[in-house]
């Protein structure tokens, strides 16, 4: 079996696993009204059916294996173009989503969101990008540096954390509108709470998850931007050249700095900070993804090759 066959097995496995994770977590989220005795009974009899978290772990494992084999085959860190960075983003969202989601209360909603977004990203990467981008290839001279691993990986991890935090804020916004019922995780059945307490606990936990992952993402984003600046100085002699990607990373940094400041100083916890985080999500997405379609600047390794 050559590399391509191996990789396609892994990719398919990952996709299927993500698909199952999405399905099961959506089902869990929709049907876990705690006070429905039939569901509780069914759950207690068939616990193995309600482990969407497990499928997310599987996908994360598949993706990790794909990335590692790519690393071996191409002999450089798998971060050279849009396809590979999308894979990293997927992996990061899944892993950080699981790690950051320790609370029993919210985990089925969180898993629902991260598995569906990872499914979409993975699907796009594998189905819509051209084959030339998907095959592992050589690095262009400008990327042949140890900085590649340091800068780009930290940026991708920070994007994952920020993306995850902003997604959780979106859940917060959706749920706090009071039109959607809170769906507690089935694992949380033992805790009998009043409806109102349930709401508050759920929202508070979401808020905390979101702020912690955004804070981690912010630290990583700072390190990523600064390491990028140092690399640029070593490679091209200028640590900041207002390249679109650099500029948008800076804007993302500013938006999330605003988020942190308002949380601390204006005490904007809860609904208002979720709005800010959603705004940050839009900025983040433009920064990471939207700019590849612009086609200009030093960072367009994705769709068009660079000049040197």
């Amino acid at each position: 079996m050559n590399y391509f066959e191996f990789e396609s097995i892994l990719q398919n496995g990952c996709f299927i696993s993500l698909f199952c994770a999405t399905l099961f977590s959506w089902w869990e989220t929709t049907f876990t009204n705690v006070f429905n005795k039939k569901i509780i009974f069914y759950y207690q009899k068939n616990k193995f059916l309600f482990q969407s978290r497990l499928f997310v772990w599987f996908s994360s494992l598949f993706l990790g294996t794909i990335l590692i084999t790519r690393w071996f085959i191409s002999q450089h860190a798998p971060l050279s173009n849009l396809y590979e960075s999308l894979l990293w983003l997927c992996w990061g969202i899944l892993t950080f989503g699981l790690l950051g989601n320790q609370s029993e209360i919210t985990h089925s909603s969180v898993v629902a969101v991260i598995s569906s977004s990872a499914l979409l990203i993975n699907g796009f990467a594998n189905l819509s990008l051209p084959l030339s981008m998907r095959t592992p290839s050589y690095l262009i001279p400008a990327l042949q540096s140890n900085w590649l691993l340091m800068h780009v990986s930290v940026m991708m991890l920070s994007y994952s954390c920020l993306f995850f935090g902003s997604l959780v804020s979106l859940i917060f916004l959706a749920v706090s509108k009071k039109k959607l019922e809170i769906s507690f995780s089935l694992q949380f059945l033992n805790h009998m709470l009043l409806e109102k307490e349930k709401n508050i606990l759920f929202l508070k936990t979401l808020d905390q998850i979101s702020v912690r992952s955004i804070t981690t993402g912010f630290c990583l984003l700072t390190i990523g931007i600064l390491s990028g600046a140092v690399w640029a100085n070593e490679a091209w002699g200028s640590y900041w050249s207002w390249d679109p990607k650099e500029t948008w990373a800076f804007i993302t940094w500013l938006v999330f700095a605003t988020y942190l400041h308002f949380r601390v100083f204006q005490r904007w916890e809860g609904f208002r900070s979720a709005i800010l985080a959603s705004f940050g999500l839009i900025t983040l997405w433009i920064c990471y993804f939207g700019l590849n379609w612009l086609g200009q600047g030093l960072h367009t390794y994705g769709l068009f090759t660079n000049k040197i």
Partner: protein
């Protein structure tokens, strides 16, 4: 500030003031070097600095004493206010008169009443009853001088005053009490403890300060002398610049304008804008090329308004750091005890534990890494102070980075060169100044000689890496330095850095019909944007001079040359150096070699060390800011222990952690006699209950 002078205060009032000061002075920070009286515009009486307040009071100060005309204000500086300090603790949102002695002491009779009513019950005494005032604190050494107090130690305050402060109760008008022992040098400096009036009515020597400027209380203005007005303007500017909303607004404006710069193409030619933003059909109805160029939208990032906005942001940052964060840092290391149950609010967790004792908390907290302070029934503990100080470091890192960038932009040199193999250039010729402070480095006199330029290929023919072999040669033709550079591996000499950034094919050497070799310069046909590489071409004349008839030689890299005949048809491909002739238009052409040119970027940037220092600071402090600052207060009151806790980053795990703590706290059951008296009280006088007879 209060002092002594009988001209301003009645003895009664002075006593009240002193006692209040003496018990509360430890709350605020050190060295109130020139505490100011309240006046219009307000300043913190403890810190003599401009204060920020929400509901400012108009306070008038005349020779009879302070007359207060409004009752809701909180005229303390931001540092104290943010810590909830000052006169009453807690985050009093304009809760009436929570002022210090100055406010209470409204000359003469009214003073007593105002003192009694306004002060609230926090010390249980009105301004008049001096005797009830608990004695002031004794501090074991000045905290600021201690360096590191033992991290897990407990500071106990035994509540004894030092001898001097007892004079507060003496009733003499002229007293200035040294309320908190140990000033900086560790020796007590009692000011005149006798009834003699201090010559200039020195205010209380509070912690740390031993020399006070002359009393300025009489003058209802900020200060004396020429500097009064500029000082006042400066403080007002500083105050308005340190507004968070302003800073965030500027930040977001910078963000929006930067985003604009990614949408409008930057640094393109004049013609580009004329073509793409036509006057006849302007974008959005108004954005034609004229408007665009007038507004400097073609170089947003170097336009004057963008740079001023950045400078303004830097100013806001500096103001915020100095007026808010630095005071907050000083204050955060202090202790603050809560004195009554009512003050426990605005916290993440507040619990009441019946029949528990504060002293039990102490060892438990210290094992968890808290730094604990205890005074009587009150306990204050904190840990993770780094988390409070981290953001200051972040701001400082940002300021350092911006300063470095500004320095680079005004004092650097820049330039690029495209030098064919075998040629050289003067460094001083290539470097061009970037700003007004640029001083040409000493390396300008050296020449860079390009010995060789080569390309490394990958198995599939793509370029792997570019190499330039360079020698630095001085004026006497001695080689002083030699290096082979490639992308990501520049040459550094004398502060000047040379980066491999580009390359060209400069010329082609060929022989026609076995004649002497000659070189033809090559030109770029296509600079490769959007395609996989550049294209160079040259023209070899094969016909007579009058006819423009010849052979086109086209090459992408050093590997091969494509030959096209006079009619434009493809004839063949040759590898340079293969010595294999090709016959075109009746001539045998041998392509001998392709000579490359190396494109380099030269830079001299004196601001880089500062920028890197700023980067390093930022990275470290951003991580340190994630440390959670946890605070815990406890107070034994009414037979129960009230515990309040607050955390900046650990809000989720705080309940769990504290539950663990609370469960471990012993509960002291009432003793037999207490139990009996409780029962007796409960059952009335009948004594029906079976109590043990005495």
């Amino acid at each position: 500030m209060m002092a002594s002078t009988a001209s301003l205060l009645t003895p009664h009032a002075a006593k009240a003031a002193q006692s209040w000061l003496s018990q509360n002075a430890n709350l605020c920070t050190t060295s109130h070097s020139s505490p100011q009286p309240l006046f219009i515009g307000g300043s913190c009486p403890f810190r003599g600095r401009a204060s920020r307040r929400r509901n400012a009071a108009i306070v008038r100060w005349d020779s009879g004493g302070l007359k207060q005309t409004s009752s809701s204000f909180e005229d303390i500086c931001q540092g104290c206010r943010l810590q909830g300090l000052g006169f009453g603790l807690g985050s009093g949102k304009g809760r009436g008169l929570r002022r210090g002695p100055v406010a209470e002491v409204v000359g003469g009779q009214e003073g007593a009443q105002a003192g009694a009513s306004g002060r609230g019950s926090s010390n249980g005494a009105s301004g008049v009853k001096v005797a009830n005032v608990p004695p002031p604190l004794k501090i074991q050494g000045d905290r600021t001088q201690n360096g590191g107090p033992n991290q897990n130690g407990v500071k106990l305050f035994n509540g004894e005053g030092d001898g001097v402060s007892g004079s507060a109760t003496n009733g003499s008008a002229a007293n200035v009490s040294v309320s908190n022992g140990a000033p900086a040098n560790g020796a007590k400096q009692p000011l005149n403890g006798n009834a003699k009036q201090a010559p200039n009515g020195k205010p209380a020597a509070l912690v740390g300060s031993t020399t006070e400027p002359p009393n300025r209380i009489q003058a209802p203005q900020f200060g004396n002398g020429v500097l009064a007005l500029p000082q006042r303007l400066w403080r007002r500017t500083l105050r308005s610049l340190s507004s968070l909303e302003l800073a965030i607004g500027t930040l977001l404006t910078v963000a929006a304008l930067s985003a604009l710069g990614t949408v409008v193409e930057q640094n393109k030619s004049y013609q580009f804008y004329i073509n793409n933003y036509p006057e006849e059909n302007p974008s959005f109805g108004f954005l034609s090329w004229k408007v665009l160029l007038d507004l400097e939208l073609d170089h947003i990032y170097t336009s004057w308004w963008f740079l001023s906005l950045l400078a303004f942001l830097a100013a806001c940052l500096m103001a915020c750091t100095s007026t808010r964060q630095l005071p907050m840092a000083k204050v955060a290391r202090r202790w603050r005890f809560l004195k009554s149950k009512a003050q426990f609010r605005d916290m993440d967790i507040i619990e009441e534990l019946p029949r528990a004792k504060a002293a039990d908390l102490v060892p438990m907290l210290t094992t968890k890494g808290y730094e604990v302070f205890m005074k009587g029934p009150a306990v204050y503990a904190f840990r993770g102070l780094a988390g409070k100080l981290g953001p200051i470091g972040v701001h400082i890192g940002l300021i350092l980075t911006m300063a470095g960038c500004a320095y680079s932009a005004t004092a650097g040199f820049d330039g690029s060169s495209m030098t064919p193999q075998g040629q050289e250039f003067f460094i001083g010729d290539i470097l061009k100044p970037v700003g007004i402070l640029s001083r040409m480095p000493a390396a300008e006199q050296y020449r860079v000689h390009v010995n060789n330029f080569s390309i490394d290929y990958m198995p599939n023919g793509n370029v792997n890496q570019y190499y330039s072999d360079l020698s630095i040669v001085d004026l006497n033709d001695n080689e002083v330095y030699h290096k082979m550079i490639k992308v990501n591996d520049p040459l550094r000499y004398g502060g000047v850095t040379m980066y491999q950034t580009d390359w060209n094919l400069a010329s082609l050497q060929a022989r026609v019909d076995g004649g002497a070799p000659f070189r033809l310069p090559m030109a770029i046909l296509d600079d490769g944007v959007g395609k996989t590489g550049k294209l160079f071409g040259t023209f070899l004349r094969t016909g007579p001079a009058e006819e423009p008839r010849g052979v086109s030689l086209v090459a992408r890299d050093f590997l091969s040359v494509a030959i096209y005949g006079p009619d434009g048809n493809f004839v063949g491909v040759r590898r340079p150096g293969s010595n294999k002739p090709i016959t075109v238009d009746g001539k045998d052409i041998v392509i001998e070699e392709l000579i490359g040119a190396t494109g380099m970027q030269l830079k001299y940037d004196p601001g880089v060390p500062f920028v890197y220092a700023g980067f390093g600071t930022l990275i470290v402090t951003v991580i340190v800011s994630q440390v959670s600052h946890d605070q815990l207060w406890a107070l034994e009151e009414g037979g129960a222990l009230i515990v309040g806790a607050r955390s900046t980053k650990n809000k989720q795990s705080l309940p769990g952690d504290l539950d663990f703590l609370f469960d471990a706290l012993p509960e002291y059951l009432p003793s037999e006699e207490e139990g009996r008296s409780m029962e007796r009280a409960a059952s009335g006088r009948n004594g029906k209950k079976a109590s043990v007879a005495r």
